[in-house]
């Protein structure tokens, strides 16, 4: 303790303290951050429960019959997939009025979400929650799945190609997300469950366009999901990615940390020894 007290006025003490603080908060966040809930498929007789939940939680904005009001759009024909995505990722119920619904804590459990989805699905035909067939990432390898002309690894590469043509302009080549106009943004795709990615493609939430099955086939969607899964899990040979955001984050890092390091070195060099 005495040694600590003697060193607390050391010029490096502030820098060390800040670094320690950042490490502790960052570490604590990564442990405590909410994990994504996995949505399950819909059961048929939960419509009544879903309607009750809807009236209690959603009707104030979307209207008593989900017909839409000035504060919320109509939910007729949006389908179960839309509900599973919006509620399952915590975007609904809306955290607060903003240009874009931010991701909030997930308010309902899987059973309640599928009940809500079942109710909304009865309002009009819309995309259903996908089953596991096309939402399971392809395992890389040289073998071919039934009915496929490409090997599994080649299909993941084709998923990358589809992703770069259709998604990368907004979501960034590595799925790191990016800015749109007037405060809207395309969210990062890291850590999003395959089902939610699939649902986002078929429903087109918020600013995102719809990628229906005639645009990107279900197999193509599975390839995109597999590509995102592959880049999520790939070995990083280039060191720290700094969010894969390119020159902005790299430049910021260089200006703040490397320049700071150089200034600290210059100060040390110019100081007379004791």
């Amino acid at each position: 303790m005495k040694a600590l007290a003697a060193r607390r006025r050391h010029p490096a003490a502030i820098a060390v303290l800040i670094l320690l603080g950042l490490l502790v908060t960052g570490g604590a966040y990564s442990f405590l951050a909410p994990k994504q809930a996995q949505a399950t498929s819909v059961t048929a007789d939960s419509v009544a429960t879903g309607k009750k939940l809807f009236l209690a939680n959603c009707a104030s904005c979307h209207g008593l019959n989900a017909q839409g009001t000035a504060s919320g759009p109509s939910l007729v024909g949006v389908g179960a997939a839309s509900v599973d995505f919006q509620v399952g990722t915590g975007r609904m119920p809306l955290a607060g009025p903003a240009v874009q619904a931010p991701q909030n804590k997930v308010k309902f459990d899987e059973e309640q979400i599928s009940a809500l989805a079942a109710y909304v699905a009865t309002l009009g035909p819309g995309p259903a929650v996908p089953d596991g067939e096309y939402t399971t990432p392809i395992v890389p390898g040289d073998e071919k799945a039934a009915g496929q002309s490409l090997t599994n690894s080649e299909r993941i590469a084709r998923g990358g190609e589809i992703f770069r043509v259709n998604c990368a302009m907004c979501h960034n080549f590595a799925g790191a997300g990016g800015a749109l106009t007037r405060g809207k943004y395309a969210p990062a795709l890291t850590g999003v469950t395959p089902t939610h990615i699939y649902e986002a493609m078929v429903t087109g939430p918020q600013s995102m366009p719809v990628f229906n099955d005639t645009n990107i086939t279900p197999a193509g969607k599975q390839e995109v999901i597999s590509y995102l899964d592959a880049i999520d899990n790939q070995t990083n040979v280039g060191g720290m990615t700094l969010g894969n955001l390119g020159p902005v984050s790299e430049g910021l890092f260089a200006w703040i940390f490397l320049l700071g390091l150089m200034i600290a070195s210059a100060v040390w060099l110019g100081k007379k020894a004791a």
Partner: protein
């Protein structure tokens, strides 16, 4: 020159003498008293500093040894989880860190050595007049004149003039490169060409194909709010021949979107589309990036490079950013088989402006 006093008083008596002579001048405060470092006075502190420097150099040696061992010992494919970075290649991380530390410890060892042990006594060095003495100056001039005379420049003016001409002319290529690149390009037609032109398909309408799958698109496939990234059927020829694919794609990229027909404000835009489905060049009219960011709710097309924003229902007019012209529209219709086709090419060159562009 002579009235500026260049001598500086060093000792007390000289200072007093100086003050008597010129009281209107600032006195030279001289150097502050020199403070000795711990290692200058205390042999134990000196010994300690020596050991510290040696330790730093020793650590550098250790890091170098780690590098050499790791180079052979760590298998190429081994990985580990590095907090803050993710799954990383063990060899890359260990080799980089050990080499970095090896250099780092040499550096801080040398600085520590210089700061604690090397002499830090202040030294004053007087500035000398820069002008050479007259004899040296005369000798230098004589050498130059002598050289000129030896080269016979005065006697043979033809050489002097031709050399001046050659050197002067040699400056022109540098000027030409800059001035020349401002002028007309060699093949402006290449910039106007586009594989959407029907001449690339024997005059027949060209089908719109999905990129990258290269499959044709039916009108009914394009639902409200969806976006198709489109390439012409004629690109298949480039793909098959494996020739000029990217060059063709760079000008042929098209985005296909369905709007509510009532939203469309311009009659030409409506006429060139089918039931609210419209096709526009994806190449930004500013500097040619791919304008791919379509916001379904606002119907704005955003260019990711410089944030030029095009208003889709208003014939892709620019509403924000540095682009000066709207995106060119591609006329589309439906063929007998129900697929979307372009019955004519682009009516203007796509992409950024160039000198020979008519407007």
């Amino acid at each position: 020159m002579s009235d500026i006093d260049t001598t500086r008083p060093e000792s007390g008596s000289e200072l007093a003498h100086h003050q008597e002579q010129s009281l209107d001048r600032f006195e030279n405060p001289g150097l502050p008293p020199h403070i000795h470092r711990a290692a200058d006075d205390d042999p134990a502190a000196g010994k300690r500093a020596e050991k510290q420097v040696a330790t730093l150099f020793g650590l550098s040696m250790l890091a170098t040894l780690v590098f050499m061992v790791a180079y052979f010992a760590i298998p190429d494919e081994s990985t580990f989880y590095l907090p803050g970075v993710g799954l990383s290649k063990t060899q890359n991380v260990v080799l980089g860190l050990s080499m970095g530390f090896a250099l780092f410890f040499i550096g801080i060892g040398a600085v520590h050595w210089a700061k604690t042990l090397m002499s830090d006594e202040e030294i004053v060095e007087e500035r000398h007049p820069q002008r050479s003495d007259d004899r040296s100056r005369a000798a230098a001039v004589a050498t130059v004149l002598d050289g000129g005379a030896n080269a016979q420049l005065g006697r043979r003016p033809l050489i002097l003039y031709s050399l001046t001409g050659a050197l002067g002319l040699f400056a022109l290529p540098f000027v030409l490169q800059i001035a020349g690149s401002l002028g007309p390009v060699n093949a402006p037609e290449e910039l106007k060409e586009n594989i959407w032109d029907l001449k690339n398909n024997d005059g027949k309408p060209i089908r719109l194909m999905r990129d990258p799958e290269m499959t044709p698109i039916k009108l009914s496939d394009v639902t409200n709010g969806s976006v198709f990234h489109v390439m012409p059927e004629t690109l298949q020829k480039n793909i098959d021949e494996n020739h000029g694919v990217l060059e063709a794609k760079a000008k042929a990229a098209v985005i296909l979107i369905r709007l509510e027909p009532d939203l469309i404000k311009v009659q030409k835009q409506k006429d060139w589309g089918v039931d609210g489905v419209v096709a526009y060049s994806k190449i930004c009219t500013h500097v040619g990036c791919a304008v791919g960011l379509y916001e379904q709710t606002t119907h704005h097309l955003l260019c990711p490079c410089h944030q030029s924003t095009f208003d889709l229902p208003d014939d892709c007019n620019v509403i924000f950013g540095p682009a000066k012209r709207p995106l060119p529209q591609l006329k589309i219709t439906v063929d007998d088989a129900g697929y979307l086709v372009a019955p004519q090419g682009f009516m203007e060159p796509v992409g950024p402006s160039f000198w020979e562009r008519s407007r």
